[in-house]
């Protein structure tokens, strides 16, 4: 990768529910010698709750414009933030009228389209690249992993950076660090239920149960993922799901940045591995 500096868009859960993803992302990029410069005064992307496209474009135009002023591409660890940034970037590049409409709302929303928003998984595999990463691997992370991609990595097609039905960017990283991908392809891209968590918990829990139990039945030591909402649903809510549905899963759920960090020889504490709700101790025992 030629760029050694990226604008970092952490997203709202980075300070709270997904703090381990934020910690591990920063630690991994530091180790790789790429500076993540947190965007000045960034705002929320609107998540899945802003349903009006114009509002989504306005909120994300402001963030895109902030990074554009510094001439830096944006990297974000959150799949939903990525989706909102990327669809706004696309819409504004293609539609001059929309660009004018944004500028008309406020001058801070003036975006010319000279930078690109990216997801960390995309940057790690497609930009930094497997060659460079493999040169920096210090340890073997000998775990069986269910790679879980969720929704916005492979779809919709205009913003996707991996296959919609059988994505493999995480699979490749897991192989690189000495892990084994379990048979999980039918579940890889199935929604975790996260967006329904607060309004239809019954449906959301059932969706999450399918993902968790599939990973367990496939013999996984853990699920790896790359989205804070999936992390919230599958890890933080896992005890609630077990209680409500009267099942036992006890499936560790880690961010792919945490697994990669272990392989790069970063200390578990620096990767926030004590912050995941389901204990990650057994995973740590498999790092050689």
């Amino acid at each position: 990768m030629s760029e050694k500096k990226l604008a970092y868009y952490p997203g709202c859960p980075s300070a709270t529910t997904a703090i381990e993803q934020d910690m591990s992302t920063k630690a991994v990029f530091e180790k790789l010698g790429i500076e993540l410069s947190e965007m000045e005064d960034w705002n929320c992307c609107g998540a899945a709750e802003a349903e009006d496209p114009i509002l989504v474009y306005a909120l994300n135009a402001r963030n895109l414009a902030i990074a554009e002023k510094d001439g830096l591409d944006i990297v974000t660890p959150c799949s939903i933030c990525y989706y909102n940034l990327a669809r706004t970037d696309k819409a504004l590049r293609e539609d001059e009228g929309l660009r004018a409409e944004m500028k008309d709302i406020d001058s801070s929303l003036e975006y010319k389209g000279t930078i690109k928003p990216k997801h960390i998984l995309d940057v790690l595999v497609n930009e930094i690249g497997m060659d460079e990463l493999s040169g920096k691997v210090e340890k073997k992370v000998n775990v069986k992993v269910a790679p879980y991609y969720g929704c916005y990595i492979g779809r919709p097609s205009e913003t996707a950076f991996d296959d919609p039905d059988d994505p493999d960017l995480m699979d490749r990283l897991i192989e690189l660090i000495g892990g084994e991908n379990v048979q999980f392809s039918s579940m890889k891209t199935k929604c975790c239920g996260g967006p329904l968590m607060m309004t239809r918990e019954d449906i959301a829990f059932e969706m999450a149960r399918k993902v968790l139990e599939s990973a367990k039945n496939a013999g996984a030591d853990c699920i790896a993922l790359a989205c804070p909402l999936c992390g919230m649903m599958l890890d933080a809510k896992q005890p609630d799901i077990e209680k409500k549905l009267d099942i036992k899963v006890e499936m560790p759920v880690v961010y792919i940045s945490q697994l990669l960090g272990l392989a790069l020889g970063i200390a578990p504490g620096k990767l926030g591995l004590n912050k995941n709700v389901v204990s990650t101790k057994e995973i740590l025992g498999k790092v050689i």
Binding site: T16, N43, D52, L55, K237, D240, K243, N274
Partner: protein
Amino acid sequence: MIKTWELDANFRNEIMNEPGGEHLSACFQCSTCTIGCPIAEIVPSYNPRKIIQMSLLGMREDVLSNPDLWICAICQTCTARCPQDVRISDLLAAIRRIAEKEEEAGKLKVDSVRPLFEKAFLHQLEKYGRLFDMGLAMEYYKGKEGGSFIKGQLAMMKDFKDFGMRMFKKGKMGPKAMFPEKVKKKEEIEKIFEKVGEKEK
């Protein structure tokens, strides 16, 4: 039974004029959206194909009052697979916004708490520029309990007692999480909500 004299021939235009609803008329009813839908797997009545057909026919009232409108998880599977590029995920959001406007105008009762949640979310965003989980939960539960702050707090504690404790123990809901993180240039965020709100009217 469909009574033709009760159909609203303009409903399809109403949807197609809403951002996200533009591609409605391209649907040829193949049902790919519904076959791959993770919600349809769990909720037997859920059928996006049927919602589209009813919209095209002009069954305005039936569509807008359908509680299934509110259980889409916006996972984009339907959108990704649709051979006609109907963009079903965005389309359903457009129909939901029409339903919300009808409710605001007192013409319809939406059978879901989702509008309350989304409004509480956006309200936090308008105030702080970032998501404040605590504020969101408090506002949402107050709304769910008919506007009573006390009842809302009690219901929230009941639902989130274990979760909150778990997050606290992991250092994810410490004292810092009790206060919102705020965007400094608040006026820029306020402008976004003010101007986009005007456009919607």
